[in-house]
């Protein structure tokens, strides 16, 4: 075993392999399933009442792959547990004090080969297949160390189930994931030295390069491994730094950022609530030690007496000093901010301090410097967890085999993940139209200015509208939410789904009297669950709409994840096939405020719409628009465009409907029926002004139309909508300048990098908004077109030229450009509003 050369030893240094001579016997009740590059082992008897807990080791955590290479003829992978990676975990798991944990979980161990290139598509696919074939009856919890966390992540975001969970992603069916020192953003230790070099501190180049060479030459026995061409070289490219924080100069880093990891992390946002990330770091060595490392690294490495712990300390010093803290603290292999899945570059962790980077998931931090916390009481996430080793801190190996960490893992396993207990499905109702659930905010502020009465009136109006359109073929449910806490019974189901509209009106007339706070996320989840159950019980309806009215900011955390201003397109696609759409209404919610952004986010994420309302009339109108059904006329259904438009209307795909009828009307400008449907399509897309003009055109084509009076009324209504909308957009644009100005001021107040992330999201979204402004305002005035172009261009310039580290420098003047332009635009818009709209 110890015949291995220093090079093998160094693997330990870089990626935390453990050497164990202990071979655990395979128990009779264990079961093993193999795939070409991996294996899944169940420990003990199967028990379907328990949650499967799958352990996934880090890089080179098993020797099965080496054996497979030797015995190629066997064809199938051998199970072995020679290394017994999870020895400490199992010891803890089996100890008497954890009997309740054994009651809850059934233990599985997943083993895989680490050196495939690329490794994650193959391994995550095999893991998924193993799960589908063998444990798809219960949702598993995954506990993974280091690279194992990336295996789990790849499985969650890329794998699509077959079989019982057909079509769902791995993340959908995963109950929870605990990652221990996982390189969520990769590690610079796996980045090509040519890329690292320009960022290396003077005098450290040699050290860094040597350390890298030694590690990555495992199979070449001490010689550099030709990673490009030699297939036996270990994998590293999948593990390299993703540069999420621009700690490398973007220009120098060019195309070497870790694309698969970046994409995986983007997709992971859907599963943030399932993840607990553990991370630790070592206190860097004294200057004298670091100097010694710089000067005499090779000797230290060749010395087989050097312990793993010491090697990790050396690696930590190389990563910290060799790059001038560019990656912050590390556990010897993985930067702390990578392990914690931070979203900003600034990790403000100092030993003993509680300052902390911004992570979207729950985290447990293990740091040097704080005395004596013990893992026997519940600590909230995100705060400092524990310190065993006040002087040294925690290294990469400690993160899966030291008791301090494992105690917390046990605690989290016990408390955090629970099997979903599904309540019984409601009785089915004979309906064919989309069911609607009304979800009312009845927090205390709804008492002000009679807002609750406005909500009631608007709700009643919406019910009438629905009854007229759908009759009894649609179902409705009413829920309300308010409360001073954020859990328990903050959501009330006032009316289970019914097609009895009379009953619904009665409930609507007696909404609960407002009090308490606004537990918006809880309300959202409860309503979605209720809708989900209804859809499950009524197979003939495929989607449902939730009309959500709120008048203020959530008191129980935001819905929009931190740092996310808008979703990029690729993410929206995966979500907008959502079967449950949220149609949100903000009553008296300030334009551009956090509360409004939450509502907008919820609507855009699910494919619904958001409307603001400031008074009774606007509220009634907002409800009408949210529950509105569009009934196009079907006079020329033999035409392809026409029938396509009708179909799109039936599918509520109003964008496609508009496109079809635009084509049709262009070819048949005098077909009043087509023009009517075109007007309807404009209306459905909230292009009020154009809709009104098109209805007018329809009336000109059919001067004796019997519905003339009704359409005249509609035109007036649309005119009012347009005026209201114009007013709203002026407020929204005003809020943008306010936002930008606050940013500008804060540049001079403090270092701004932690805000820069969110800011970048803002500019990306707003760039698109301003570009589309003439279309949104339905005005092609030359000044507006130019202003819109200029603003989106200057916002784009900001996004291009501001980098996280040097945000202050880059943004100080560029920020004033959109501010100045938007101020000019506002002045012109207000003039235009005065002269042309009111």
């Amino acid at each position: 075993m110890n015949k291995v050369s220093f090079s093998n030893k160094f693997i330990v240094l870089w990626l935390g392999l453990i050497f164990a001579s202990f071979v655990s016997p395979l128990f009779a009740s264990d079961e093993v399933w193999s795939k070409p590059n991996s294996a899944l082992i169940r420990k003990g008897e199967k028990n379907i009442r328990k949650i499967p807990l799958i352990l996934i080791h880090g890089i080179h955590g098993t020797e099965i792959c080496e054996e497979r290479i030797v015995n190629k003829d066997e064809g199938e992978m051998n199970y072995d547990e020679k290394k017994d990676y999870w020895k400490e975990f199992k010891r803890k798991f089996r100890s008497t004090e954890n009997s309740n944990l054994r009651e809850k979980y059934e233990l599985y161990i997943f083993q895989y080969c680490s050196d495939l290139k690329p490794v994650f598509p193959t391994i995550s696919n095999e893991l998924g297949n193993l799960i589908d074939e063998n444990i798809a009856d219960r949702q598993p919890v995954i506990l993974a160390h280091s690279m194992g966390g990336l295996v789990a992540k790849a499985y969650m975001v890329y794998y699509r189930h077959s079989g019982k969970w057909q079509g769902k992603s791995g993340g959908d069916t995963t109950l929870g994931l605990i990652t221990l020192a996982t390189l969520h953003h990769g590690t610079p230790g796996a980045t090509d030295f040519a890329i690292l070099e320009p960022h290396t501190m003077l005098g450290w180049e040699n050290t860094v390069q040597k350390a890298q060479k030694v590690y990555w030459s495992k199979h070449a026995k001490g010689k550099p491994c030709d990673i490009e061409n030699d297939s036996t070289c270990p994998n590293r490219s999948d593990l390299r730094w993703d540069n999420f924080d621009n700690s490398f100069d973007k220009k120098l880093y060019l195309n070497d950022d870790n694309k698969w990891l970046i994409l995986a992390n983007q997709r992971l946002t859907s599963f943030y609530d399932k993840i607990i990330a553990y991370g630790g770091f070592l206190r860097p060595g004294k200057w004298s030690r670091r100097k010694a490392i710089r000067e005499s690294l090779p000797e230290k490495l060749r010395d087989s007496n050097t312990s793993n712990a010491e090697l990790l300390e050396i690696a930590n010093d190389i990563l910290v000093s060799g790059f001038n803290r560019r990656f912050g603290d590390t556990d010897g292999l993985v930067p702390f901010k990578s392990a914690l899945l931070c979203t900003t570059n600034q990790i403000k962790v100092k030993p003993g301090s509680h300052a902390f980077c911004d992570s979207p998931v729950r985290v447990r931090r293990f740091e040097p410097g704080t005395e004596g916390e013990v893992a026997n009481k519940e600590l909230p996430y995100q705060t400092l967890s524990i310190t065993r080793n006040a002087e040294r801190g925690y290294d990469h190996e400690d993160m899966y085999n030291c008791l301090d960490v494992l105690n917390w893992v046990m605690l989290d396993l016990l408390k955090s993940f629970n099997r979903n207990t599904q309540p019984a499905l409601p009785p089915p109702i004979e309906i064919s139209k989309i069911p609607t659930l009304f979800l009312f905010d009845v927090s205390g502020s709804m008492n002000e200015n009679g807002k609750i009465n406005q909500a009631r009136d608007a709700g009643l109006d919406a019910l009438r509208e629905m009854r007229e359109a759908d009759g009894n073929s649609s179902a409705v449910s009413i829920m309300s939410f308010s409360g001073d806490s954020c859990g328990g019974n903050v959501v009330r189901n006032l009316l289970p789904f019914t097609n009895g509209f009379g009953q619904a009106e009665n409930v609507m007339r007696s909404l609960p009297s407002p009090s308490g706070g606004t537990p918006l996320p809880q309300a959202k989840d409860a309503a979605a669950a209720e809708m989900q159950r209804f859809l499950a019980a009524n197979a003939n309806v495929k989607e449902g709409g939730i009309v959500l009215l709120s008048d203020g900011q959530s008191t129980c955390g935001a819905i929009r994840p931190a740092g996310v201003y808008s979703r990029r397109d690729d993410l929206r696609v995966s979500r907008s096939d959502s079967k449950i759409k949220f149609f949100t209404i903000g009553l008296d919610v300030p334009a551009g405020s956090v509360a409004e952004r939450d509502l907008q986010f919820l609507a855009s994420e699910t494919g619904g719409k958001y409307f603001p309302a400031n008074d009774r009339r606007q509220l009634i109108r907002a409800f009408q628009k949210q529950v509105r059904r569009f009934a196009p006329r079907s006079c020329n259904a033999s035409n392809a465009d026409f029938s396509g438009g009708l179909r799109a209307f039936a599918d509520s795909d109003y964008n496609a409907a508009l496109e079809s009828f635009q084509k049709y009307a262009a070819a048949n400008p005098n077909d009043s029926c087509g023009v009517y449907n075109l007007a309807l399509a404009f209306e459905a897309n909230d292009r009020y002004k154009t809709a009104a003009e098109t209805y007018r055109q329809y009336l000109n084509l059919t001067p004796t139309s019997p519905d003339r009076a009704k359409i005249e009324q509609k035109i007036a209504q649309l005119g009012q909508d347009y005026t209201d909308q114009f007013d709203y957009f002026i407020k929204l644009i005003q809020s943008d300048t306010d936002y930008l100005k606050r940013y500008y001021q804060s540049i001079f107040n403090r270092s701004n990098a932690d805000l820069a992330q969110e800011f970048n999201g803002f500019v990306i979204e707003k760039g698109g908004f301003y570009k589309a402004l003439p279309e949104i305002l339905e005005t092609n005035e030359r000044w507006l077109v130019n202003d819109a172009k200029d603003i989106s261009s200057s916002i784009d310039t900001l996004a291009r030229r501001t980098r996280l580290q040097s945000f202050d420098r880059d943004a100080v003047s560029l920020l004033t450009v959109p501010i100045a332009e938007i101020e000019d635009l506002l002045e012109r818009l207000r003039n235009y509003q005065t002269n042309n709209i009111r």
């Binding site: 308490g516 008191t555 407020k731 809020s735 500008y744 172009k789 202050d808 100080v812 004033t816």
Partner: protein
């Protein structure tokens, strides 16, 4: 009778203007022989000729008025008699006459160029198009029928039948005849693309990344070319300067896509410094001192300063200056680029070179920046006649010695700038109706005036619906004398 009354009028004017004490000794005229002059104004009834006599003459006044003696002769460049109504601003004339005290009389005015075919040269960027009239180098140009624009450089194979076929922002060289309406008719025209070389890119990168502003601006302290400066943290002031500057940027520049390599991203920085100064870097960074803002009177004057600097950056004057036919300057740019990354020696060389880039523009470049800057002003709706006032005021306040600060020391002196602006206005905007232009005094006072405490901050009615988002802290406003506006009502959740 008429002449007599005019004479009386003139004499009384002279009496009014001239101190009585010197009047008696100056009765005998001093002859003026062949004085070169630049015509600024000559209008009906053609009895007063306003000119600029340039640097080397008996007077240092920016403008000089000659009265035309009844017997005065007007000649063309072939010494043939000339109809005086053909004389236009911008023409070079040679004047003979005499001087009695401050009273100047011209007896002979000879136009130095071909009046019937007034040949001019226009070189610059093709900035905009109105019908068939192109604006180039701050002047309007039309193609004579039959004249086409020949491509050179990368466009060697192309010929353009009209300006309409050409790309805005391309470089154009025109030989033409200037018409009485001020439009130049091109007899020969060439164009080449506005290229962006690798060296330019290196220079841009060097300027942008390494030498301008520190990464962390806390407190606003930074360094520009090794000089400590304090960036103003006053949002209103900074935004205002950006706003005015932004309106001056030519449309074609704004319309370039953001990933176009040669796109100049203009950035305006206000520096808290009492000296009278403004300067531009080749990457489009433009700096203006509060000391300069303090001496301006209105927005049009600010536009004049910024327009001039925008023109410098846009016309690549600093790039041209360090351009070297042997390509040596590429190495120079590399040195600058290396300056901030590692070696200390590099930094020093870089800084020195950079100062060189900034310091001096050729006289011709200054004149061009004036021409183009005035054009930008006009385009943005400002009154260009405000531009010379900046320098008139400044030269009145300080003598030239006081101008020896970093940047403007090697510019044309205030006097030269003043004269040049006068000439450009006379030459290009003689028949322009200025009634549609503005000077923006009110706007200037409401921001810059408030900043300096000249006037109290105007009360802005509170706008509802501006509840600040809680994610960003609002810093304390700079203490300026102002009545506190009412706070917007903030909705409170129970």
């Amino acid at each position: 009778m008429k002449k007599k009354s005019l004479l009386i009028c003139l004499i009384s004017l002279v009496c009014f203007l001239t101190p009585n004490s010197i009047f008696p000794q100056q009765m005998v005229g001093i002859p003026i022989k062949k004085q070169e002059a630049f015509v600024l104004e000559f209008k009906p009834p053609f009895d007063r000729l306003t000119v600029d006599l340039g640097d080397n003459s008996f007077t240092t006044n920016e403008t000089t008025v000659f009265s035309i003696s009844p017997q005065a002769v007007f000649l063309n460049n072939k010494n043939k008699p000339l109809d005086r109504t053909l004389i236009r601003p911008g023409m070079r004339v040679i004047i003979s006459g005499n001087r009695i005290g401050e009273q100047l009389t011209a007896s002979s005015v000879k136009v130095d160029n071909d009046v019937e075919k007034w040949k001019v040269v226009v070189n610059g960027y093709f900035e905009s198009l109105e019908g068939d009239k192109a604006w180039i180098d701050g002047q309007s140009v039309k193609l004579l029928p039959g004249v086409t624009v020949r491509g050179t450089g990368d466009w060697k194979k192309n010929t353009f039948a009209s300006f309409n076929d050409m790309q805005l922002g391309s470089y154009v060289e025109i030989d033409g005849i200037r018409q009485t309406d001020g439009i130049t008719c091109a007899t020969k025209a060439e164009t080449k693309p506005n290229t962006f070389s690798d060296g330019d890119r290196k220079l841009f990168t060097a300027v942008q990344q390494n030498l301008v502003i520190p990464e962390n601006l806390a407190g606003g302290k930074g360094k520009v070319w090794g000089r400590e400066v304090k960036f103003s943290d006053n949002l209103e002031l900074q935004t205002y300067v950006t706003k005015v500057g932004n309106r001056l940027i030519p449309r074609y520049q704004k319309d370039l896509p953001n990933d176009y390599p040669g796109k100049i991203v203009y950035r305006f920085f206000v520096i808290e410094d009492d000296s009278f100064n403004a300067f531009a870097l080749p990457d489009g960074s433009i700096f203006i001192h509060t000391g300069l803002l303090k001496q301006l009177k209105n927005e049009a004057q600010l536009a004049a300063v910024l327009g001039h600097e925008i023109a410098h950056a846009g016309y690549e004057h600093s790039r041209k200056k360090i351009e070297d036919p042997t390509g040596k300057w590429l190495a120079l740019a590399a040195v600058i680029a290396g300056a901030a990354t590692k070696t200390k020696e590099g930094a020093t060389i870089g800084t020195m070179t950079a100062l060189g880039i900034l310091n001096s523009y050729e006289r011709a470049a200054e004149d061009q920046a004036d021409r183009v800057g005035l054009y930008y002003m006009m385009q943005a709706g400002y009154d260009p006649r405000e531009a010379p006032k900046v320098w008139r005021e400044h030269s009145k306040k300080t003598q030239e010695a006081a101008l020896n600060n970093l940047i403007y020391s090697n510019h044309s002196t205030a006097q030269q700038r003043l004269r040049n602006l006068n000439r450009v206005i006379a030459f290009n905007y003689y028949e322009t109706d200025f009634s549609q232009t503005k000077n923006g005094e009110k706007e200037y006072m409401n921001t810059v005036g408030v900043y300096f405490g000249w006037i109290p901050k105007p009360v802005v009615p509170p706008v509802r619906n501006n509840t600040p988002s809680p994610s960003v802290t609002i810093p304390k406003p700079k203490p300026t004398p102002k009545p506190t506006p009412k706070k917007p009502r903030v909705k409170k959740r129970p």
